[in-house]
């Protein structure tokens, strides 16, 4: 199962990002575990400065805005 983390200090965009990822995954029938990471130190350790950012299996794949659905499909499959 893919581990997905959404990095961000709990702003509305981060919540939305997590929701979209969950939705895309369920549309594709892929099981994912989406966690929201809000801890400042943890976000720093990923080297991310623009949130929301997306981490898939410990790799930062995206940062700075709500990702497009196409991009999400790419990371999950």
């Amino acid at each position: 199962m893919k581990q997905v983390k959404v990095l961000g200090s709990g702003c509305s965009k981060c919540v939305k990002t997590a929701e979209i990822i969950t939705k895309v995954a369920s549309d594709l029938g892929i099981e994912v575990n989406v966690i929201k990471e809000t801890d400042a130190e943890a976000i720093m350790n990923y080297g991310v400065m623009s949130t929301p950012a997306v981490v898939v299996d410990e790799q930062v794949v995206y940062s700075g805005s709500i990702p497009a659905q196409d991009a999400i499909r790419g990371w999950l499959s």
């Binding site: 702003c11 965009k13 976000i43 720093m44 080297g47 400065m49």
Partner: protein, 329 residues
């Protein structure tokens, strides 16, 4: 150029709704319609144009640029980039830590973060259209000065002592690193710029449209319902206590620059001195409790308290200096 908005408001309020320009309601509503329509059109056009130009600028590039700079230049550059770099205030903490872990001194990082809410393209644009270029220039200079001097002061008192310990360690590691690895700068095609600008326009407009309504609404209420001359009679001489009072009043009020500028316009038109108005606006925009609570993640209480006092004193000073200077401008 802006006449079209006056005519639109004439048509809507006086002709279509049949209100008389002599009634308080008609006057206030006319002001509201004119300003809101003008601001909305300007916002959409200008955000798009500016976004096209700065599509390739982001906090990562600013960090790489600031890392390893000489301090003197660092504060000015930090503040300058704070004014032009787009980033959401919800990213303040990651940005702070990103800069810090690149070894950039706390003062330079804070020059960036303090200037950022005070000056942005939307604020500048609104000031230009509502209050003219002289006031805009003054506002930008003062905003940058607050950011630069605030940053210098924080480094002078060695503010890094009062960071949370993980942030202190990150700063230490960053200083020892020789250079930050910066990714290659992507060359953007026009279509990519257009996509970015479209997204920005949509996003910023979606965020600020309601502030414009609130701000102009308050402005219209002031315009139509506060008796003419009341503000001028009571606060018009720039009584010294009115400035700290305005700053204190601005703390619990939280708005972004977009919402507060239409209010500024009304206050100034109604005779509130420029310094008092500036102090009120800067305090509303830059000193807010929610943001300070966020900063607690990276700063100890002591530093937070110092920062708060520094900001409030800076705004009070700005107010006093401008009230004092007004006769000479």
């Amino acid at each position: 150029m802006f006449e079209i908005f006056t005519r639109f408001a004439d048509w809507l309020v006086y002709e279509l709704m049949g209100l008389s320009p002599d009634t308080k309601l008609g006057d206030a509503l006319h002001f509201f319609v004119e300003d809101v329509s003008k601001i909305y059109v300007l916002l959409v056009v200008m955000i798009y144009v500016i976004a096209l130009a700065r599509a390739s600028l982001n906090v990562e590039r600013v960090r790489d640029f600031l890392a390893g700079r000489h301090r003197g230049v660092g504060y000015v550059l930090g503040s300058g980039f704070g004014a032009i770099t787009p980033f959401c205030s919800c990213s303040s903490i990651p940005v702070f830590l990103g800069f810090t872990s690149a070894g950039i001194p706390v003062g330079i990082t804070m020059s960036f973060l303090l200037t950022s809410p005070l000056i942005n393209e939307v604020a500048v644009l609104l000031l230009m259209s509502l209050l003219g270029w002289k006031f805009t220039l003054l506002y930008v200079l003062v905003g940058m000065a607050v950011g630069i001097l605030g940053g210098v002061f924080l480094d002078q008192i060695r503010a890094e002592r009062w960071l949370q310990s993980f942030a202190q360690k990150a700063l230490e590691r960053g200083r020892q690193q020789q250079s930050v690895q910066s990714g290659p700068v992507a060359k953007l095609s026009f279509n990519e710029r257009h996509q970015f600008a479209k997204g920005e326009t949509w996003e910023i407009f979606g965020r600020v449209w309601k502030w414009v309504i609130i701000g102009v609404g308050l402005g219209a209420a002031l315009h139509g319902f506060v008796p003419d001359g009341w503000i001028e009679a009571h606060l018009g001489d720039g009584q010294w206590w009115s400035v700290p009072a305005a700053v204190a009043l601005g703390i619990p009020l939280y708005s972004n620059a977009t919402g507060v500028i239409p209010v500024m316009e009304s206050l100034i038109v109604n005779g509130l001195p420029i310094g008092t108005t500036l102090a009120f606006c800067m305090s509303t925009v830059a000193a807010s409790f929610p943001e300070f609570i966020l900063l607690k993640q990276v700063m100890q209480w002591r530093l937070l308290a110092i920062l708060f006092v520094v900001l409030l004193s800076a705004f009070t000073l700005v107010g006093w200096i401008f009230n004092w200077l007004t006769p000479f401008i």
